[in-house]
Structures are given as C-alpha cells and as structure tokens.
C-alpha cells in the first residue's frame, strides 16, 4: 500500500497500535497484576489470616456442608462448583449459575460450620483478573473486545518487528538526553525488543487460551458443534454425561472426597457436581496442576448416586492437545516459583511500558509546531493518554484503598469497591481535559504516588495484626505495602521527570518564535496540512 513493505508495516504498526492502545494498556496492567492474583485476593481478605487452615482430613465434612448449602440455595442449578479450602484461602468457595442473563451465585462458607464466612465482601484479585479478559463487560462482549485487541496486538508486534530497521544495532540503545520523540522512541523500542519473546508469547498464548471461543469452527466442522465431546476426546476433561431426567438423591460426597484424596498425591482443589439430583449426576474431583508448564488438572469422575469411580483423567495428552495446555500454562504462569514470577511480572511491566510509550509517541509525533494549530482531536487523544496511562494505576490504587476503608457491613460492598475503581478512572480521564498537557501528566502521576502511599497508610491503620505494628502477623501485608511503596516512588519519580521536562521544551519554543512569515516551502516536514512526522528511524 505504501512504497515499500517496510513502510506499509510502519503505517500498520502506528495505526493498529493507537486504536487499541488504551484498552491494551488496561489489559496489560490487569494481566500483570494477575500474576499475583492469589496474593492480592488474600490481602483484600485480611480476615483469612485469622483463620486456621483446614486439616486435610476435615475436607470431606467441609464438602458435605457445602453440598447442604447448595442443596438449599442452588437447587435449580445444573452445575455446582465447590472450591475446597486451601492453605492461603481457608474457606469454601461456592459458585453456581442460575439462568442465562442472571448473575451467578457465589458465596464463601466457613468450612467448619457451613455458615457464611465472616469475611469482608470483596471480589479481591478476581476483579482485576476477570477485567483482564472481560473488561467488566458482559462476558460475550468483553471477550470479543479483548480478543480483537489481542489480534491487533499480534499484528502490531509483527509489523513493529518488520519496521524496526536496526533491531540488533539499536538493541541496547536508550538515549535519554535527546529530543523527546527520540527518547520516547528509544524507550518504546527497548521495552518492546528486550522482552520481545515474552510479548510474542503472551499475546499468542493469550489468544489461544480462549481459542475455542474465538475460533469454534474446527469444533463445528469435526464435532458438529459439540465442544464437550472435543474437550473430552482431547483428554482435557472427563467424559460428560447428559442428564437422565430421572430424579435420584446425590450420594454423600464426603467418602468421595476421601477416596479422591487417597488416590492422588496432589492436593484437591475443587469439586464439580454436574446435574445434582439427577440419576446421572456426576461428581468430578479436580486436583491441583502437577509441577509443569502444561495447564492440566488431574480429575476423577464419580457417579453422583452410587459414589463409584467412573473415570480417572490424568495426562496422556497427544501432541496438539498438549501444545494447547502448555500455551495456556505459559500464559497463566502458575508454574513459576517466586523469583521467576517476579521476572514475569517485570516482563509484564515492560509490556505496559511498551504500550504506554507507543501511545504517547503517537501524539508526540503530531504535536503542532510553534504557530500551528493542533489538529482536531489531539487534545482529546492527549487527555485520554493521561487518563489511561496514569488513570488506570490510580483506579487500581483506589480499589485497594476502598477495600481498606469501606465499612465492613456495607450492603453491596463488593460492588462499591468496583464503583470506586471506575469512579476514580472516570475522574482521571476527565480532569486532564481541563488542564494543560504537562500539568495534567505531573498531577496525575503524582496523584497515583499519593494514592499508593494512602493504601499503605490505610493498611497500617486498619489491620490490627499488621507485621509492622506487632512484629508478628502475616508477612503478606509487609510485602504488599513494600510493593506499594516502590510503586509510589516510581510514580513520584515519573512525575518529577515530567515536571523538569517543561523547561527545555519552552526554551526551544521561545528560541524558535521569530519564525519566518512565509512558510518554508522547501521543508518537507511542514506541509500546509498537519502530517505526522516520521517516528521511525
């Protein structure tokens, strides 16, 4: 479309990157945060640190209490999901779907009594995790938007690689003291290229994780649309059994739990009860993933009425099916120990930086020269840049703050935390429209820093058994606060850099003020209409 392949790819890279840049930034930030989803969830439910973890021998009894609760409250649901108590989450996590269009049922129970757990109402890290691939939209829409953005990201990566002329010579190049466009381009290139294996991997594996949602046509063609049959033949799930439509009592699950535990070394993660109350009820015991890249859960299926083992599903995946699970496993990173997880987190941050620098670069390249009018929409783009890049971290900080500050017995507390998140984000997006560009950046970056500090303060003030107060207590709080302090420092540093950037820019503009009245026709960089200046070397 342009004179050369490289130029076409440069054009494609610029426009594809911009259109989804803001959404992509949000996806990257929440995704990066999700590497620590269990830790965030536990931090947001500080009551857990007061609860003794459940003995493995008591799991059976706990499961039966869960079933009793579900029998009362979820009798109509076709599938019950029972998350069994874990070391870092010592509660029963019950989930069920009622009817399409209605919100699913969800409750946390005390495993020792079967009553509702005395834990503050919050979605914890799950909100950020689900936002990552659903954007808090109805799942169908959200996943399509994210999928579209991911595909465009893939295109942006490919076109970016093609466009980057001196990818090896410029590998280590980061010139901070040059013109803004040069420095920001260097930053964009460095964060993109240094973590390129990660970016390519995370984008492709992200799409693959929801592959059968985005590309169901293989299942349609080869399985007449029966996805469950495909999953079962691929050895990812146990063979599904359709309901017999004859009522029959569900056998006690306690003994099933005991048999499941005895059968495998991995801890038991959850129970899935399909068609409870039916003659063909199935109870599937799902175990933790064994240590490996592949995202596979060993499963044992029990007949719900007789308690007999129907099927054991464990490994034996064929190459393509295994590739699928390895890709999903790589994306989720469950296999990573604490140090490797930190490296993944760092790579995720570099991804956020890559998207952010790219989006800023786009508007930097289209800044009007002295005397020229900015093009329509530049103001909006610049404001949205601030609103998404500084605004989203601010919203996350407010989410954490709300978790600590909202009254524990507030009705709909969970939703209020989420409203706080979006409220903060909207404010952060609107304020820059009324402020000069550089001030808007400084102020919002500084605001994020202050909010992170506020989270630490709220933590220290509202958590009675915080390590820094007692000397004992759960170290999780200390680690979380340390991370928040580090982030506060980084954002403060960024705000300061933004502030100091003002002077040189103004000097240059002042020096160039006595511009010739006649437009320099010979200069190709100043055509009558606003043409973006080349951002690619």
């Amino acid at each position: 479309m342009k004179a050369s392949f490289r130029q076409s790819m440069a054009w494609l890279h610029t426009w594809s990157g911009l259109i989804v840049g803001w959404v992509l930034f949000a996806i990257f930030v929440t995704g990066t945060a999700s590497y620590y989803r269990p830790d965030i969830s536990r931090w947001m439910r500080p009551e857990f640190t007061q609860v003794e973890p459940v003995d493995a021998a008591a799991l059976g009894a706990a499961a039966e209490r869960a079933v009793a609760h579900l029998g009362q409250h979820a009798a109509k649901a076709r599938t019950w999901f029972i998350g069994l108590p874990q070391a870092d989450k010592p509660v029963l996590d019950l989930f069920w779907r009622t009817r399409p269009g209605e919100p699913p049922g969800h409750v946390l129970l005390d495993p020792r009594t079967g009553a509702e757990a005395a834990v503050r109402d919050t979605q914890g890290g799950d909100f950020l995790y689900r936002f990552h691939f659903e954007l808090h939209m109805p799942p169908l829409w959200g996943r399509w938007v994210v999928g579209l953005c991911a595909m465009i990201m893939l295109v942006a990566l490919i076109s970016g690689i093609v466009t980057h002329k001196r990818i090896f010579a410029d590998f280590f190049t980061f010139r901070r003291d040059k013109a803004p466009r040069r420095s920001w381009l260097d930053a964009h290139n460095v964060t993109g290229v240094l973590a390129l294996p990660f970016h390519l991997m995370i984008t492709y594996t992200g799409i693959v994780t929801l592959a059968t949602f985005y590309m169901p046509w293989g299942v349609t063609a080869a399985y007449k649309g029966n996805a469950q049959a495909f999953f079962s033949e691929a050895s990812w799930i146990t063979t599904p059994r359709p309901p017999a439509n004859r009522p029959a009592a569900l056998a006690p699950v306690g003994p099933m739990v005991e048999r499941a535990r005895a059968a495998r070394p991995e801890p038991l993660e959850r129970l899935m009860i399909v068609n409870p109350g039916d003659a063909n009820a199935t109870v599937v015991a799902v175990f933790e993933e064994p240590h490996g890249l592949s995202h596979e859960h060993p499963q044992i299926a029990f007949d719900g009425v007789s308690g007999e083992i129907l099927e054991v599903r464990d490994g034996g995946l064929k190459p393509a099916a295994k590739t699928f699970t390895v890709m999903t496993g790589l994306h989720e990173g469950h296999f990573a120990g604490p140090l490797l997880r930190l490296l993944f987190f760092l790579c995720g941050l570099m991804g956020c930086a890559m998207v952010a620098t790219g989006v800023v670069l786009w508007s930097l390249a289209r800044l009007p020269k002295a005397g020229e009018r900015p093009f329509l929409g530049l103001r909006l783009v610049q404001a949205l840049n601030v609103g998404s890049i500084a605004g989203l971290p601010a919203a996350v900080a407010v989410y954490f703050l709300a978790n600590r500050l909202l009254p524990l017995d507030l009705a709909g507390r969970e939703q209020w935390e989420i409203r706080a998140f979006f409220g903060a984000w909207i404010v952060a997006a609107l304020v820059p429209l009324a402020r000069p560009q550089r001030r808007a950046w400084c102020e919002e970056l500084a605001a994020v820093s202050v909010l992170c500090l506020a989270v630490v303060a709220a933590d220290l003030l509202t958590i009675p058994d915080h390590p820094l107060r007692l000397g004992g207590g759960d170290p999780l709080f200390a680690w979380f606060d340390a991370a928040m302090l580090l982030l506060a420092a980084l954002f403060a540093l960024a705000a300061r850099k933004m502030l100091r950037y003002e002077a040189p820019k103004r000097d240059r503009a002042r020096g160039a003020k006595p511009a010739p009245v006649t437009a320099p026709a010979a200069s190709p960089a100043r055509p009558p209409a606003r043409r973006p200046e080349p951002t690619h070397a």
């Binding site: 893939l154 492709y204 799409i207 592959a211």
Partner: protein, 100 residues
C-alpha cells in the same frame, strides 16, 4: 497515499476497505482453513481440531499483513477472495459434497 496534501476521500475509503478486508477476510479465511484442516488433517479428530485451531491465529495475522502490504486494494481483495473460494470449495468437498 500522497506525500503531501490532505488525505482524499478516496484514500480514506481505500484504507477503510483494507481494514474491512483484513478483519473480515482474515477471520473468514482463518475460519475456513480451521474447518478444512480439522476435517482433513491425517491425525485423530481431536488432534486435527486442536492443531487447526492453534494455527488459525497465525493464518489470520498473515492475512492482515498481506492485505496491508499488497500494492492495491483490488489485488488484496482478489487474493483474499480467491483463497476463501478455494478453501470454501475444498471444505464443501470435505464435508461430503452436500450440506447436511
């Protein structure tokens, strides 16, 4: 696009056309290829579906790059359209020559 001057309506239409072709054509060709490969790859059914689905996104990305690097929109349209026709015909054959 012209090196100087405002982008014309014609240029904008051309770009819009490429976007539609890349998105729709890319997805369409990838979908047809996925269905076809799922039916024809010489491996177990679940393996064929898994392989085809895994590759489909690379196919889609490839079509997008192709559409934006082809010299003219018409040529891109012919290439993508042609690929879709061929894949569609092969798929029709693979599904037994008549719709169930």
């Amino acid at each position: 696009m012209a090196a100087q001057g405002r982008t014309t309506v014609r240029e904008r239409a051309s770009v819009a056309g490429r976007v539609v072709l890349a998105a729709g054509g890319g997805y369409g060709v990838a979908a047809l290829a996925t269905a076809l490969l799922s039916l024809t790859l010489p491996m177990a059914r679940s393996e064929a579906v898994a392989t085809a689905t895994l590759l489909s996104f690379a196919v889609m990305a490839g079509i997008v790059v192709l559409v934006f690097s082809t010299r003219t929109l018409l040529r891109a349209l012919l290439t993508v359209g042609g690929a879709a026709l061929v894949l569609g015909a092969l798929l029709w054959l693979a599904m037994g020559g008549s719709r169930p």
